[in-house]
């Protein structure tokens, strides 16, 4: 197993111990600068959406890659922000998933067993214990991930390679999450330069995650939708009714499913597959296209924060939006 590719494994932890790298040196010495750089890159990457691949063509570079993982965890712990933590865990797991896709079966099996799963390879697909399946699959929402739609025989079922990797990604998330935030204490002081730049980036990431929506006019949004977007941006989990209201609203003003997936990207329990599934469902994949709730329904479920001037003249959040868009285009067209 290339432990430098899979630094969250127990095997990697053993390898890290074998490298002669006192924490003091990792934090300060010039020789370890590449480690610090890569650790920061991991955290930054997480904020930007993806941890970039690393050059691991020789053993020195491999050690850098391996050591940068525990340091990145320290950095994340020093900043100790829920939003960052989630993004980080997710991005590390996605990086691992990308790498798993290019690993051979032998390596995949080694990592699976390090994660406590014991898949059996049958030459094409994998047999796994149902517990290993439901632990992760219960978080996904599409029908194919329901246990009942699998052939369960004496505790085991078959998954494709792709499905196995997806299940492993969830296990990896849990593994990475374990122990975070670490109690970094005084270590944080030695990292203060790096921490500052990441903190700044964190702030702007939180901001931009709500504005970057292309065509759609943020300033025309009714107070309710604006407030829901803000809650999402600050990493709060939305109640089911709020999620539904926001999704159906955004679909109605012609955002694409992909764009809306992007909106929910910050949600603490973000699960891309499940989110997409839900949005598609609301968009009418089953034949019924859902209309967004009216103001009175919004009020009933506590999703109306109290309206403004325009709200008094409308009964539906969509009418609010249309009105504002109309007004905006009038005033911007030269008369």
């Amino acid at each position: 197993m290339r432990t430098f590719w899979y630094p969250f494994t127990h095997a990697a932890a053993e390898d890290i111990k074998l490298i002669d790298a006192p924490l003091e040196d990792v934090l300060r010495s010039r020789a370890f600068q590449p480690v610090r750089r890569r650790a920061v890159e991991r955290v930054r990457g997480a904020l930007q959406g993806e941890i970039p691949d690393a050059d691991t063509s020789d053993t020195v570079k491999q050690s850098v890659e391996l050591l940068s993982y525990p340091l990145a965890r320290l950095i994340v712990s020093c900043i100790d922000d829920d939003y960052l933590l989630r993004r980080y865990v997710l991005a590390e797991a996605k990086l691992a998933h990308r790498r798993l896709k290019s690993s051979d079966t032998e390596e995949v099996l080694e990592i699976a067993s390090d994660l406590g799963m014991g898949p059996l390879y049958d030459g094409e697909n994998f047999r796994i214990h149902f517990v290993d399946f439901v632990m992760a699959a219960a978080r996904f929402r599409s029908q194919k991930w329901k246990l009942i739609n699998r052939t369960l025989d004496r505790g085991y079922l078959t998954v494709t390679r792709e499905e196995l990797l997806r299940l492993m990604e969830e296990r990896i998330k849990d593994r990475i999450q374990e122990g975070l935030p670490l109690d970094a204490g005084s270590i944080c002081e030695s990292l203060s330069d790096h921490l500052k730049s990441i903190r700044d980036e964190l702030e702007s990431s939180k901001q931009s995650s709500i504005v970057d929506l292309g065509e759609f006019r943020r300033d025309a949004l009714p107070p309710c939708m604006r407030s829901l977007l803000e809650q999402l941006a600050s990493g709060r989990n939305l109640a089911h009714t709020a999620r539904f209201a926001l999704t159906s609203f955004l679909l109605n003003i012609n955002l694409s499913v992909e764009e809306i997936v992007g909106v929910f990207n910050n949600s603490p329990d973000f699960d891309e597959e499940m989110t997409r599934y839900q949005i598609e469902h609301i968009a009418g994949s089953t034949g019924t296209r859902y209309t967004p709730p009216s103001c009175s329904t919004m009020l009933t479920y506590g999703n109306c924060p109290g309206g403004d001037e325009i709200c008094r003249r409308i009964r539906h959040p969509i009418s609010y939006y249309r009105r504002r868009v109309r007004e905006a285009s009038k005033s911007s067209t030269p008369s």
């Binding site: 214990h129 149902f130 517990v131 439901v134 632990m135 699959a137 219960a138 978080r139 029908q143 194919k144 329901k146 246990l147 009942i148 739609n149 699998r150 052939t151 369960l152 025989d153 004496r154 505790g155 085991y156």
Partner: protein, 396 residues
């Protein structure tokens, strides 16, 4: 309940507890315990005991009406909140209750013995799932008569201990048939056409030797076909026509197909080609199919007990304070022959005089009692049952 009745029941319960063996569940010291008393409101919970002796002493001295322990194991089982207890894992629990069966939930009153028999059949169905689909070792499964309206199953297998609530709910969905995608089991495939010319579609279903739900669906299909074949044409067609989208013509064609001699063999083999042009008829199967699921597991709206990882469950070998019957520890083998209305009775037949306050009929120990308001002299086991259920008070 009058206080003299409460103290009478207490003294009878004490009698039982002084000699009951009361084996403690594994990991008893990591479990939370809870107690309800006849003469005190609410539940005394968040208790923990470090040994069986300590527990038994407590029960013998306080004589509770109901005794529960958590399915979960905690680091600090006696901490006052779930958060402080620190959850370490939990047994997998199933609560099969007559209240979860719609026919009993709605009508309420039904013959107690018959109702328990229905739930017992559901329990056996569930056990079959646990052994064959889930592959649990028989030694890790314990079956318990609840003392009330059903059965509990405790699965104590290391593999499931740490499963979270959402994963446990998936197991319940599997057992109750929720979310079943019938298209995964009945589907069309491409096959070589006649004489190798062109391609044709062939309709496939699960074969009778398919594992898991496949086999249950196959069984359901077979029993549906057998059922239809046993009817005369007119009856069968009118039954088929009840299915949305099936008119007399389709029904007739379908029926002539299933009357073919080897229809059953074809179904067993998973070959459904003789159903071609009538795949809508498959909707018929669904009600039959759901007969194969474990319906007593949860009502449609209840949060299933199984998914609640902090849930308390009755302590086997304690008494159920609402019936006076023993919460009886069984094995998979002993379940079949178990008769709760005889085998869970612990009190003798010394005569006890009671004041019946609600007329009722009762069958216990093979005896039938038809009771009207007023004084009656009854064997102790029947007297305790009626007083615990609130149908009688102790006589003067």
């Amino acid at each position: 309940m009058e206080s003299k009745t409460a103290s009478y029941l207490r003294s009878r319960f004490r009698e039982y507890y002084l000699t009951a063996s009361m084996d403690a569940p594994p990991g008893m010291e990591s479990r939370e315990w809870g107690f309800i008393f006849y003469d005190a409101p609410g539940m005394r919970r968040h208790r923990s005991f470090s040994s069986r002796k300590e527990l038994v002493d407590y029960i013998r001295s306080t004589v509770p009406a109901h005794v529960y322990h958590s399915a979960a194991y905690y680091l600090k089982p006696d901490a006052p909140t779930m958060k402080e207890k620190i959850w370490k894992g939990a047994d997998l629990i199933f609560d099969l209750d007559a209240d979860h069966l719609s026919e009993y939930r709605v009508s309420g009153r039904r013959d107690y013995g018959e109702m328990l028999e229905r739930v017992k059949r559901e329990t056996m169905k569930l056990l079959e799932f646990l052994l064959s689909d889930f592959g649990f070792d028989e030694k890790r499964i314990s079956v318990v008569f609840s003392g009330g309206r059903g059965y509990h199953i405790h699965v104590r297998d290391p593999s499931i201990m740490r499963l979270r609530s959402d994963a446990r709910r998936e197991i319940v969905d599997y057992l109750t048939g929720r979310g079943l995608d019938i298209g995964r089991f009945i589907y069309e495939i491409d096959v070589e056409g006649d004489a190798g010319v062109g391609r044709a579609r062939s309709l496939r279903g699960p074969a009778s030797d398919a594992p898991g739900w496949g086999n249950r669906i196959n069984r359901a299909m077979e029993s549906m076909v057998m059922h239809l074949r046993a009817l005369d044409d007119e009856e069968a067609i009118s039954l088929l026509k009840r299915v949305d989208g099936i008119g007399p013509q389709k029904a007739g064609r379908f029926l002539s197909r299933i009357r073919e001699e080897n229809a059953i063999n074809k179904i067993r083999a998973g070959n459904l080609d003789f159903f071609k042009y009538a795949s809508g008829t498959w909707k018929l199967i669904i009600p039959y199919l759901m007969e194969e699921s474990v319906r007593a597991l949860s009502g449609e709206t209840d949060e299933p007990v199984t998914a609640d990882v902090h849930r308390l469950i009755r302590f086997p070998e304690s008494l159920h304070g609402g019936t006076g019957l023993r919460v009886t520890q069984l094995t998979i083998d002993s379940l079949r022959a178990f008769d709760p209305l005889r085998d869970a009775v612990v009190f003798g037949d010394d005569p006890v005089s009671v004041e019946v306050i609600r007329p009722t009929t009762l069958e216990l120990m093979g005896e039938r009692f038809d009771l009207i308001d007023g004084r009656a002299e009854l064997p102790a086991y029947a007297a305790v049952f009626l007083m615990a259920r609130g149908f009688a008070e102790i006589g003067r």
